[in-house]
Amino acid sequence: MKLDHSPPPTVLRKAPSGIAGFDEITGGGLPRGRATLLTGGPGSGKTVFALQYLINGARNYGDPGIFVAFEETSQRIMANAESFDWKLAQLQRRKLLFIDAQPNFEHTQTGDFDLCGMLAGLGLQATQMKARRIVFDALDIVLAFLPDLAARRREIYRLHEWLMDRGLTCIFTLKATVDEPNSITQQPYGFMQFMVDCSVILNHSVVAGVSQRNMRVQKYRGSTFDENESPFVIGDRGFNVAIVRTLGRADVRVTNERVTSGIKRLDTMLGGGYYRAACVLITGFPGTAKTTLSGAFAEAACRRGERTLFVSFDSDGTEVIRNLASVGIRLDRYLKSGLLRMVSARTIVGSAEMSLVRIKAIAAAHRARCLVIDPVSALANSGTDLAAHGVGQRLIDWSKADRITMVCTSLLNEISQHSGTDTPLHISTLADTWIHLSYVVQAGERNRGMSIIKSRGTAHSNQVRELILSNAGVTLADIFTAGGEVLMGTMRWQKESAERVAAEVAEVAGKVKLVTLDAQKAELEVRLKAVQTELIAKQLEKNLLARTTASRKAVMLHGSVRMRELRGGDAPKKHK
C-alpha cells in the first residue's frame, strides 16, 4: 500500500450529479476524484441515487462510469431502472459498465483474504473505458465476508487508496439504520464517515402516517453545503430534492409583461393585469369564488396557448371543470388539446414539502407557464407546521425562477375574519398581488365583494367591486355607496332602478318646462308685436292730428280775411 499523498489540488472541483436539487445543496455536486459515502436504511433510495449519478455523468457530463453491484445482479438493477425515464439501454456499454460482484457463498474460506483481485480487474476496465466515475453499491455485503474488523478496515482503506490513485469520483453505498442519525458513527462501518470526503445520509421515515424522505449532507470537506435535511421524492425521473434558493444565486430576470387575469375589469383595476411570473394570492372564505377567479385566469392562459397546470386540493379535476363550466369558464377543450393539465392533489399524500416537490415535478413535465394551486392553504394541513413553514417561500422562489405565473387561492378562517390578513403559509407577505374576496351580508342576502389589498409595482384601484357570477361569465360591478353604506346585489339593483326612474321623471319634467317656456315666449313675442303695431298707429294718429290742426288754423285765418273781403262793408280801419 502506497502512503504518499499527492498534494491536494488548490481548488476543489466537483462532479455534478445532475440530480435536481442535490447539486444546489452541495454547490455543484460530489467532490471530484474523491469518495462519497451514501448511507441509508432499506428502501431509502441509495441505489437509485448512485445509478442516476452514473447515468447523468455518462450522458450529460462526458464521464464514463462503472457500477459495481455487490448485492443485486446487474440484470435486476437494469430491470428496476426501466421503471424510470432514463432510457438506460441507450447508453452504450463503453459509457456505462455494470459489473456483477456478488460474493459467492459456495466458496470455502480459510484465512484472511483481500479485494485485490477485483481492484486489478476494475483497474483494467477503468483504464480501457476511461472511466471517471464509479459506484460500489452495497459495499457492506462484501465487507461482511472478510474475517474480522481489522481486515474490513484494511480493505476499505485499500479501496480508498486505489480510488485516490486513479482519480475516480466514487460513491459507496452502505446500509445503515438511520432512525437516529447520530448513531451512524457507532455502526460497524462508522469509521468510513471519517475517511470519505463527503457523506450523504438518506432517510425514509413515517411521520404521523405520512411517508417522508429526507436527505442530509453530513459532511463535505472543503466545501460549503446546505446542512439541513432536505425532503426529496423519487419520481419518474428519479431523485428530486427540495431546495430553497440559496444566497448568491443571480436574481430572476424581472419583466414588465402583463398577463390577463381573465376578467377584463380586474385587469383595468390592476393597471393591465398580473405581471408575468408574479405570484397572485386570492384569499377568501369558503364559497367566495376563489376557484372561479383562478379558473378564469387558467382559461385566459390557455386561450393564449400557454401550457397551464391546475392543481386542485379540494375536488377532482373533472368536478372543477364542470363547476367552472357553470359560470361560462370552459376548460374541457384545453384539457383535451393537452394545453391544460388538471391534477387532483388529494392523491398527493405526504408532507407539504412532498406535495411541493411533486407539483414542481409535474409542472416541469408539463412545461407549465401558468400554474393554479387551489387552495395553497391545503399544503399546510399535512405534515408538521415546521415543515410547512418554508414551503410558501420555496414555492414562490421556484415559480419565479422558472418564470411561471402562479395564482394561489387560500382559505381564511372565519375566526380570523377581523384581522383577515394572515394566510397559513405566510404567502400573503410574499405574494406580488393579493386579491381578497369577501361576503357582504345585507338585507337578507349575501353578495361577493372583491378588493385588491396589494399589487406590487402597479397602480391599482382602491375600489371594492361586486363580483357577479352568471352562466355568461364573471363580471365586476361598481358598488353603490349611499349614506356611508355599501350597497350590493338586489339593493344595488334597486338603487340603480330608482335612479333610472328618477332620471326619466326629471327628463320629462324638463321637456315640459321647455315647452311651456316656449309657449310663454311665443305669447310674449306676439304681444310685443301687437303693442309695437299699436305704437306705430298712435304715432301716425298723432302726426295726423298735428297736421290737421295746423291746416285748420290756416284755413280759419285765410277764411276770415276772405269773408271780410267778400262782405266789403266794414271799413278796414276796424282791423287797426
Partner: protein, 95 residues
C-alpha cells in the same frame, strides 16, 4: 488413494501482499506433504494479468482453484487451515 491422478492448481495472488505470500507458502507446504510428485501449480498475479482476473471472475485474492481432477474447487484465503483445505480438495489425509 489408489488413483494416482495429477492435481492441477491455479493460485491467484496480488503482488506480494502478505495474504498472497502466505497462501503461496501454505500451498507449497501442503503439496509437499500430501501430493508429493503429483501436482502442478500455476501462480497468476492479478495485477500483472488483470484481464485474466476479469475473465475468470476473480475478485478476492488469494484464490485457489483446483482445476484437476474435476469438478473445479475454489478456496479463498491464505489457506492457513490445512484441515479445511484438505477437506475441500477431497484429499485423503491418511496417505
Amino acid at each position: 488413494m489408489t488413483r494416482r491422478s495429477i492435481y492441477k492448481f491455479r493460485l491467484y495472488v496480488a503482488d506480494d501482499t502478505i495474504n498472497s505470500s502466505q497462501a503461496i507458502a501454505n500451498l507449497h507446504a501442503l503439496c509437499k506433504t500430501h501430493l508429493s510428485g503429483r501436482h502442478e501449480i500455476e501462480i497468476v498475479d492479478v495485477f500483472k494479468e488483470p484481464q485474466r482476473a476479469i475473465l475468470e471472475g476473480i475478485r478476492m485474492t488469494p484464490t485457489l482453484l483446483r482445476l484437476a481432477p474435476l469438478p473445479i474447487r475454489r478456496i479463498v484465503g491464505t489457506l492457513m487451515d490445512t484441515q479445511r483445505v484438505l477437506e475441500t480438495l477431497e484429499l485423503d489425509t491418511r496417505v
